[in-house]
Every structure is written in structure tokens, then in C-alpha cells.
């Protein structure tokens, strides 16, 4: 909340600059009689100053945060860096934007607390809603809420970079995941994710694929080709990995775990162009041996269903994920979006 207030204060500051500039600079005589401030001659082409860390830029009429990000940050998708740093939602001619060329606060710790990333966990989307099945209209309403309230749906890979201190995340970053590989994710969720341009990770348990209710490979390949959906591992059989079979020795247990870890990894990699690095534990459960086998098989992220947001210092193989049940109303959904943990560090 404090960070949002700070953002609002920054926004107010920028608006103030714009307002003051507008007062002291005669309006440009435009054909439509619009009263934009006359461009400052010193800011021709916009750049006031620049070094390896920042550009100070005065937006011109017609500039958007996306076009500025395209120019300075290598792509419109990076526009959030300008928005977050300046506490603005659009480029305002007559104001000055500070454009960070490098991460300013990659770990997300500030005087008021620290940033966390909620990872949402869905299962099925379909007309008969229940605890594990979400109505398409409910899912659409949740995506609409995210889009309208400046949440940025990021890829799970971005979380790995955040945990390693290599990548800064947007202030309101959220990850969407689906478990199991139910065909309804293709029928109902995928079209909505495409509509909003939101990426998601689908965790597959591979024994379920090509069954009456499971996804098939052509559907998986189609979604992977969209560039929006990433496929990762959710075991072979969906057995709870911490439950030992009667009389199972340590060696037999490890061998069984290896099958649950390596078979889906190899199948997904063979059938898609995806590198499998992430593993969602069936039922969200893991133990020391599971973590050891997961890491040994080359996985870098492991996901539980322990609810809450993830800070930069979260255990990468024990990431929190919040289950989004079918009966959840919008208020409960909002409560699941834990993007900042307040701590007074003054």
C-alpha cells in the first residue's frame, strides 16, 4: 500500500511538472486548437541527458510509454519499467521521464517492505463450476480484473531471474499456472489467455495426456507455438511423491521418483520445443529426497500449493502457489494477489 501511495505521489509530481510547464510555456498553435505546451527547444528529440544508467526524456506529443520503451529499452513490453519508476500510466508531453536503462531495484526491497510475486494455480475451466472447475465467465472476470488494474502477468521464467537477482519485476507481477493438462484448459482458458495476451505455464502429468479428458500433443503444440503457453512437468502419474509404497526401499523409492521426474521431462521436451526446468509437485508435496532428485534432473524451480507471494529470497524449489478454486469470488481473488509485503524498515 505504501508503495502505491509513493507511486501516486510520483504521479502527482509528474502531473505537477506538466502543469507548471503548461502554465509557463505558451500553448502550441495546433490545428485542433489543443493546448499542449510548446516543446522546450532544449529538449529537441526529447533527450535531456543520458548515461549508462538513465535517460532523462521529455515526451513529445504522440509518444506513449510503449513507443519510448521501444526506443530506449528494446521493446514495447518493457514499458512497465518507465511506468513503475516514474509512477505514471502514460507519457505526458511537458513532463520529464526518467528511463532506467538497468534494473534499479532488482530484489524489490524498499523502505516500506518488499515485493512478492503471487503464482496462481488453476486446474479446470468449464461450464459446471465446482471447487476444482472454474466457470469460463469467472475466469474471464479474473483476467479482466488483472488487465484493468495494472497487474502484469509475467512468465514463470521471469520469476527464476528475480530469485537470482538478475531481473527486476513489475510492481504488480502475477504468474498464471494450470495443473494436470485437462482439455478444458485448451477449450476455455487458452482462448481467454490469448484474448488478453497473458502468458501462462501449464504443468502436465503425462499419463493423463491423450485420454478422454486430457490434452493431446497437437493441442499442446498449437498452444506452445503461440508463444504464450509454456509446458512444464507435473509428474508422470500424479502420485504424491512423498508417499512411499509399502516395503519400498530407499533405492526403489529414488528410482520411482526418477521416473516421475524424468519421464514427463523427456516427453515434453521431445514433443515441444520447450526446455523443461520447472516442476509442480503433485498435491504440492515434497520432501528432502524429492528436492534432491528434482535438482539432479536439472530443474531450477519447484512449485508447491502453499499459498502466498514469493519474495526474491524464496526457496526456488519450494515456491508458494495459491490455489484459485472454482467457487472463489472476486474479493477472495483480489486477496490472493499478494504483490507486496509491508514491513517498516525506516
Amino acid at each position: 500500500m505504501h508503495e502505491r501511495l509513493r507511486g501516486m505521489a510520483c504521479l502527482a509530481g509528474c502531473v505537477l511538472i506538466a502543469a507548471i510547464s503548461g502554465c509557463v510555456t505558451p500553448p502550441a498553435p495546433g490545428p485542433a486548437g489543443d493546448a499542449l505546451p510548446e516543446p522546450d527547444p532544449s529538449t529537441a528529440h526529447g533527450i535531456l541527458a543520458r548515461n549508462e544508467r538513465f535517460v532523462l526524456y521529455a515526451p513529445a506529443p504522440g509518444d506513449t510509454l510503449e513507443s519510448i520503451a521501444e526506443r530506449f529499452l528494446g521493446g514495447a513490453a518493457q514499458s512497465w519499467r518507465i511506468a513503475d519508476f516514474n509512477g505514471v500510466s502514460r507519457a505526458q508531453p511537458g513532463s520529464v521521464l526518467s528511463i532506467p536503462l538497468r534494473p534499479v531495484n532488482p530484489l524489490g526491497v524498499s523502505a516500506n517492505g518488499y515485493r512478492t510475486v503471487p503464482i496462481l494455480c488453476y486446474h479446470r475451466v468449464g461450464p459446471r463450476a465446482s471447487r476444482m472447475v472454474m466457470a469460463p465467465a469467472t475466469f474471464a472476470a479474473q483476467l479482466e480484473f488483472l488487465a484493468r488494474n495494472d497487474y502484469r502477468v509475467i512468465r514463470l521464467r521471469d520469476v527464476a531471474d528475480f530469485l537470482e537477482g538478475r531481473g527486476e519485476l513489475p510492481q504488480r507481477a502475477v504468474v498464471i499456472t494450470f495443473d494436470d493438462g485437462h482439455v478444458s484448459a485448451y477449450q476455455h482458458a487458452y482462448p481467454l489467455l490469448k484474448k488478453y495476451g497473458f502468458p501462462a505455464t501449464f504443468f502436465l502429468y503425462t499419463d493423463f495426456l491423450n485420454t478422454a479428458e486430457g490434452l493431446n500433443w497437437p493441442q499442446i503444440r498449437e498452444m506452445a507455438a503461440s508463444g504464450l503457453i509454456d509446458f512444464q512437468s507435473h509428474s508422470k502419474s500424479h502420485a504424491n511423491l512423498i508417499v512411499r509404497q509399502p516395503g519400498e526401499s530407499d533405492a526403489q523409492y529414488r528410482a520411482r521418483l526418477d521416473g516421475e521426474i524424468r519421464v514427463p521431462r523427456d516427453l515434453i521436451e521431445r514433443n515441444t520445443a520447450t526446455k523443461v526446468t520447472d516442476y509442480a509437485y503433485p498435491y504440492g508435496d515434497a520432501n528432502e529426497i524429492v528436492l534432491e532428485r528434482i535438482a539432479q534432473a536439472g530443474h531450477t524451480l519447484g512449485l508447491t500449493v502453499n499459498p502466498g507471494g514469493n519474495a526474491f529470497f524464496s526457496h526456488p524449489l519450494m515456491l508458494r502457489r495459491t490455489m484459485i478454486f472454482g467457487e472463489l469470488n472476486l474479493d477472495a481473488f483480489k486477496a490472493a494477489l499478494q504483490v507486496f509485503r509491508n514491513v517498516d524498515l525506516q
Binding site: T25, S42, V104, L107, D285, F313
Partner: protein, 161 residues
């Protein structure tokens, strides 16, 4: 150097470094000098300087050294010939080191005493001023790893979601 001259230099430099679709300087109309701060109508750069300075001073009052440092850095970039901004940058850096060192010492003492909540707060305090402090970041990761192991790895298995 006047603001206008500096701005011209910045535009030329920016165009060269940015590789953006800005015509080369020789093709541009001459960039007249903007009104320097304090003479006539304030320029956009002058207003930006005023706003950045206000924000920097606000952060100093709140002892938010990391935030203040960024503002002083931006001011130094905008007005490189103003010695005051360099001095303020150096002062903020000094405060950051002092605060981070104190917080790190407190964190490690708390950790030795088994007070992990306090250790976490102190490591976070160190990072809130010194945002790249590797020791504080690693301390937090180690504590979280231990907590995750203790709180979640020895639970009975779930049978339903």
C-alpha cells in the same frame, strides 16, 4: 555551461548512443539555448531539476537513502556542473554504507542468538538502503531455506487438493 548547451550535448550524445531514428545533428536546426534556471521562463529541464531536487530532499528528510541517492544521481546527470549534486550523492552513499553496515551487524548478531525474525528485518533493512547487498540477500535466502525445510518438508502428505 548553460542548460541549453548541456541539453544540446545530451541530445547529440543520446542520439549517438541510442542508435535511434534521430537525424544526425548536422541535419537538425540549431537548438537554441533554453532559459537557464532562474532566468525568465523555466525550461522543462529546469522544472525537472526542481521536481527531482524536491523529491531528493524529501527522501533525505525521511532518511530513505537509497531513494535519495537515485534522485541525486539523476540531478547530477541533468546538471553535471553542479558540485552540490555530486556532494549530495557522495553523502547519500556514505549514509547508505553506514546504515547497511549497522543493519548487517545487527542481523548477524540476531541470527547467532537464534532470533530469526529480527535477523530477517535487519537484513531487509540493509537491503532497503543498499539494494545490491549480497551478504544481506544471501542471509535472507539461507533463513528462508531453513524455514521452508522446517515448516513444509516434514508435513503429512495431502490426499486431496
Amino acid at each position: 555551461m548553460s542548460f541549453g548547451a548541456r541539453a544540446l550535448q545530451a541530445v547529440v550524445l543520446g542520439g549517438a548512443l541510442g542508435g535511434c531514428a534521430v537525424p544526425p545533428p548536422s541535419e537538425q536546426p540549431a537548438v537554441p539555448a533554453a532559459a537557464p534556471s532562474g532566468h525568465g521562463a523555466p525550461s522543462i529541464a529546469g522544472e525537472a531539476e526542481r521536481a527531482l531536487r524536491e523529491r531528493a530532499e524529501d527522501y533525505v528528510r525521511q532518511r530513505r537513502w537509497a531513494d535519495a541517492l537515485v534522485q541525486w544521481e539523476l540531478l547530477t546527470l541533468l546538471a553535471p556542473d553542479k558540485e552540490e549534486y555530486r556532494e549530495q550523492t557522495a553523502q547519500a552513499q556514505g549514509r547508505i554504507k553506514e546504515t547497511a553496515d549497522q543493519a548487517l551487524a545487527a542481523a548477524e548478531q540476531a541470527r547467532r542468538n537464534g532470533n530469526l525474525d529480527r535477523a530477517v528485518t535487519e537484513y531487509l533493512r540493509a537491503l532497503s538502503v543498499d539494494r545490491g547487498n549480497a551478504r544481506a540477500a544471501q542471509g535472507l535466502r539461507d533463513i528462508e531455506r531453513e524455514r521452508a525445510r522446517r515448516n513444509y518438508l516434514n508435513r503429512p502428505p495431502r490426499t486431496v487438493m
